[in-house]
């Protein structure tokens, strides 16, 4: 078992294995890769890269997907920057 490193996933700290990839993280979180976009330190990754991109200490990962939203929506749309989906 490799040593743990700390990264941030959607703003929250999380420990992962030192040799983990983005793909490993998604599997651990039980997230289907075909419906998400992943940003690693502000770089948007291609789905094909998930299993190649290794995580390192301090990485900031954002995992996003589609939620209900409309003709520009005030329910989620009032805040600036990223907001948590309900």
């Amino acid at each position: 078992m490799a040593a743990a490193i700390q990264i941030h996933v959607n703003g929250d700290p999380r420990d992962v294995r030192a040799d983990a990839t983005v793909g490993d993280l998604l599997r651990e979180l039980a997230i289907k890769t075909e419906r998400v976009a992943v940003e690693l330190n502000l770089e948007i990754l291609d789905r094909k890269e998930f299993d190649q991109r290794s995580l390192t200490q301090g990485d900031r990962v954002e995992i996003l997907s589609f939620i209900g939203g409309g003709a520009p929506l005030d329910m989620y749309g009032r805040g600036r920057g990223f907001v948590h989906a309900e």
């Binding site: 998400v36 992943v38 996003l64 939620i67 409309g70 989906a85």
Partner: protein, 257 residues
């Protein structure tokens, strides 16, 4: 609408009613309302996945991306940089280059920042996006959006979620006459007659969310909107009579006693 498809950037849309997926009670209601509306384009927002509670269902479990054209938006973005980021994330999360571009200028009115909108549109068009911009009812801005490569323009009828209906039919009419790409009236519709009016003016489609999702019976309202858009489109194509100040008798005078 049978045999009256809308084509934008080579993509064919069967329905002239487009709907948002926000503000519904739950996904089951969302699905039923969208089915009742007959829409084949649904807008979605791009947000963080809930990683602490994975039991939550996904919108796409209810809306099959094979059946619906999923149109990601950049809702909630108040500057060009955020809008670009969300647009790119939307493309990465989905399967197409379609983006409903919003760059908002003010939180109270949710009116678009049209300078930022044009700037963001220009960049995204260069990146290969099919940019459908949410804009105000300004014909000059609409033309500038076309000039930077937008294959359709989506002017508002009234502030988002306001239900005020078509506030400036004359500006919308000027946009429809001046602008040579499809015009989708987006936001502000309150009830079925508003949607019919937009289509009678010559809109190519209407996009709405709150008018359906916020109705007492969203599924019934979705159906009403389907017929309203259809009726308005038929009336537009049929060509209305001119308005006249005085009466014109419909029955002949000949043969009267």
């Amino acid at each position: 609408m049978q045999n009256d498809p809308l084509t934008i950037a080579g993509r064919v849309f069967a329905s002239r009613l487009w709907v948002g997926t926000g503000k519904y009670k739950d996904f089951a209601e969302t699905k039923k309302a969208i089915e009742a509306s007959g829409a084949d384009v649904v807008t979605v927002a791009v947000r963080r996945v809930n990683i602490t509670d994975r039991s939550k269902e996904n919108l796409l479990d209810y809306l099959d991306p094979k059946k619906y054209i999923i149109l990601p938006n950049t809702a909630g973005c108040y500057n060009v940089e955020d809008a670009l980021r969300y647009a790119r994330l939307g493309r990465a999360a989905g399967v197409s280059d379609l983006i409903k571009l919003e760059v908002l200028g003010d939180e109270r009115t949710l009116f678009p920042d049209t300078a930022g909108l044009i700037e963001a549109a220009k960049i995204l068009v260069k990146e290969g996006f099919i940019v459908l911009p949410y804009t105000n009812d300004d014909p000059i801005v609409a033309q500038k959006l076309v000039d930077v490569g937008c294959p359709a323009v989506m002017p508002l009828a009234a502030p988002i979620g306001s239900g005020l209906g078509i506030r400036n039919p004359y500006n919308l009419k000027i946009i429809m006459e001046m602008i040579k790409v499809p015009i989708i009236v987006d936001a502000g519709v309150g009830t079925a007659s508003d949607a019919a009016f937009a289509m009678e003016l010559g809109a190519d489609a209407v996009l709405m969310n709150t008018a359906i999702a916020g109705a007492k019976d969203p599924i019934a309202m979705a159906e009403a909107m389907k017929y309203a858009v259809y009726a308005g489109r038929l009336a537009y194509k049929a060509g209305r009579i001119p308005r006249k100040l005085y009466a014109t008798a419909s029955s002949p005078i000949e043969g009267m006693l």
